[in-house]
């Protein structure tokens, strides 16, 4: 008779090295059901936001996530500018777009590297992170910081860029593009990766829509939604780029979407540098009247959604933040059930989950779990062994 076993992964997630608890019910090697527990590290940002002034909040929300630290403030700023009826100067909109797209490039490359490591392709990890580093450098010399750029403010931007810097960005982008092209070609042409990832942990169009998923994860299932295209903010309606979608919804397609999006982002940054007009970068907002507004922005992982209500005071009366992983993580249920344990690692990684996305309040961590668990090493080993078995099949003489 088949026996169901509970396989706990967490509360401190061994792969993502962040607090999240997956309970997998397995029958042999196959997952038959699962439960996710989150919020071991909820930081109370929504509550905290109510005690800040309007122009302090961007500094707070860029700390929701170190990687999406341009997207969160941007969504909030869109909402507040709507309440105040302010339009930021065109030049500052271009500056904002450049930082938002650089953020996407570095996030996608970071993800590609980690995903490579999870399945035992450490060369992919080294390459991806090597080509990501110049992006971080660009962000540093444009905004003054590798993370938490603080470049956008209500009504404009903080830091302008001169022609010399723009030239430097162009030169660095050429290098990044070359490297990313090499990486993309190597990944897409690799027979082992195709065997390992094609058909793995598929999410169908209907499931993706039902879970309300967003970002590259949903576009890989053929759902053509992207806030940059559907509800343009900044200058996305003034540059030429494409929404990347793929039809299959498996892990391989999620890789394809992210890698191809990187090139679209490079394209957008180049056009912004060419088209950016001279002029002011700050509209100097004086006050925010009572009102409410929603702002949403396409962060690297998907749509980040902010709702802001003002009662005419100095700060938000209510500020709701919904980060992309909050709607993407529950879809593990759709992608993991019926799959072998060795594929769970990559199914989880394929969504590019971010736990700071999912958590926003401080609670005590359960220290009372002395039982042996599947740790980081075990999970990575399982996943890497599966790749090795496939390698032997594809290259039997190796």
């Amino acid at each position: 008779m088949a026996r169901r076993t509970l396989l706990p992964i967490g509360p401190f997630h061994p792969l993502q090295e962040e607090p999240e608890h997956f309970q997998l019910y397995v029958d042999g090697e196959t997952i038959v059901d699962m439960d996710v527990r989150i919020s071991y590290n909820h930081r109370g940002i929504e509550k905290l936001s109510e005690s800040k002034t309007f122009d302090q909040v961007p500094f707070l929300v860029e700390r929701v996530c170190g990687i999406c630290s341009a997207s969160h403030p941007m969504a909030y700023i869109c909402a507040v500018e709507d309440i105040a009826g302010v339009q930021a100067p065109l030049r500052s909109e271009y500056l904002r777009t450049i930082v938002l797209e650089l953020e996407r490039i570095h996030s996608h490359l970071l993800w590609a590297g980690l995903a490579g490591h999870f399945i035992g392709y450490n060369t992919v990890f080294m390459w991806a992170w090597k080509y990501r580093e110049p992006v971080m450098d660009i962000l540093e010399y444009l905004t003054g910081s590798r993370v938490e750029y603080a470049n956008a403010k209500i009504g404009g931007s903080r830091r302008d860029m001169d022609d010399e810097l723009a030239g430097r960005v162009r030169k660095d982008l050429d290098e990044i593009e070359k490297g990313t092209y090499l990486l993309t070609k190597a990944v897409l042409d690799d027979p082992v990766l195709a065997a390992r990832l094609k058909g793995a942990c598929t999410i169908s169009y209907e499931q993706a829509v039902n879970f309300g998923m967003t970002g590259p994860s949903v576009r890989a299932s053929g759902v053509p939604i992207d806030v940059r295209h559907d509800d343009p903010y900044c200058v996305y309606d003034q540059v030429d780029w494409e929404v990347i979608t793929t039809p299959n919804g498996d892990v391989f397609d999620k890789v394809v979407v992210r890698l191809l999006e990187t090139f679209e982002s490079i394209k957008i940054v180049r056009q912004c540098l060419d088209q950016m007009p001279e002029g002011e970068i700050d509209a100097k907002v004086q006050e925010v009247p009572p009102g409410e507004a929603v702002g949403h922005v396409e962060a690297p992982r998907g749509e980040t959604f902010h709702y802001v209500r003002s009662d005419g005071g100095n700060g938000p009366a209510r500020h709701k933040i919904r980060a992309p992983s909050y709607v993407n993580v529950p879809s593990f249920k759709a992608s993991s059930i019926g799959q072998p344990v060795a594929d769970v690692t990559i199914a989880m990684a394929a969504l590019d989950p971010c736990y700071s996305c999912t958590e926003r309040m401080v609670v005590a961590v359960d220290a009372d779990s002395g039982k042996p668990r599947y740790g980081w090493n075990d999970l990575v080993r399982l996943s890497q062994e599966k790749t090795r078995r496939l390698m032997k099949k594809v290259y039997p003489t190796h």
Binding site: G44, N210, G212, I225, V227, V294, F305, R318, K320, R322
Partner: protein, 170 residues
């Protein structure tokens, strides 16, 4: 279909359930529709199935009479009547219903879309709203040892007093 026409169609289709409509000036792709709380499941079904809305999230706001529940629907996949070339397709329609004090009860819409599952649990934790017929109303956000009946996002929640009581802060 133009953005303003999408909002018109939504209001027309929701019919008698609608109490008020607010359309912010200069923002054609935003609308706020107040509906009767008892119709929320039917309204949500219309938004999800007829207009292909994506439930971006739900916000709960503590107001004087109860908890305002705001369902943010992004309508961006127009299968029958797509917008003209070059016109951005997304319209964010926020459907607002009131769960009145003292009970703060409203029907769950998880039966319409799975996207509502976690966020209804979150609002239950943080604001104390009960969602009738939710399939799994366990705690999501608050810790297991968080006291019952204390809701941190309510207006009357006093952080300093709470810390004094629970953690012995000076």
């Amino acid at each position: 279909m133009k953005a303003t026409e999408v909002v018109d169609a939504v209001v027309r289709k929701l019919g008698d359930s609608v109490l008020a409509v607010k359309r912010p000036e200069g923002l054609p792709r935003r609308a706020y529709v107040d509906v009767k709380a008892e119709d929320i499941v039917a309204v949500s079904r219309t938004m999800f199935a007829d207009f292909h809305g994506r439930l971006a999230t739900v916000s709960g706001v503590d107001v004087r009479d109860g908890a305002e529940i705001l369902y943010h629907w992004c309508i961006e996949r127009h299968t029958l009547d797509p917008p003209a070339e070059g016109e951005p397709p997304c319209v964010v329609v926020t459907v607002r219903a009131l769960a009145p004090y003292p009970d703060l009860v409203i029907d769950s819409i998880v039966c319409v879309t799975e996207a509502a599952n976690w966020i209804e649990r979150e609002i239950h934790d943080l604001l104390g709203v009960s969602f009738t017929d939710h399939p799994d109303m366990r705690r999501l956000i608050l810790a297991d040892d968080w006291p019952e009946g204390v809701y941190p996002l309510r207006r009357d929640f006093d952080v300093a007093a709470f810390r004094r009581k629970e953690y012995g802060d000076e």
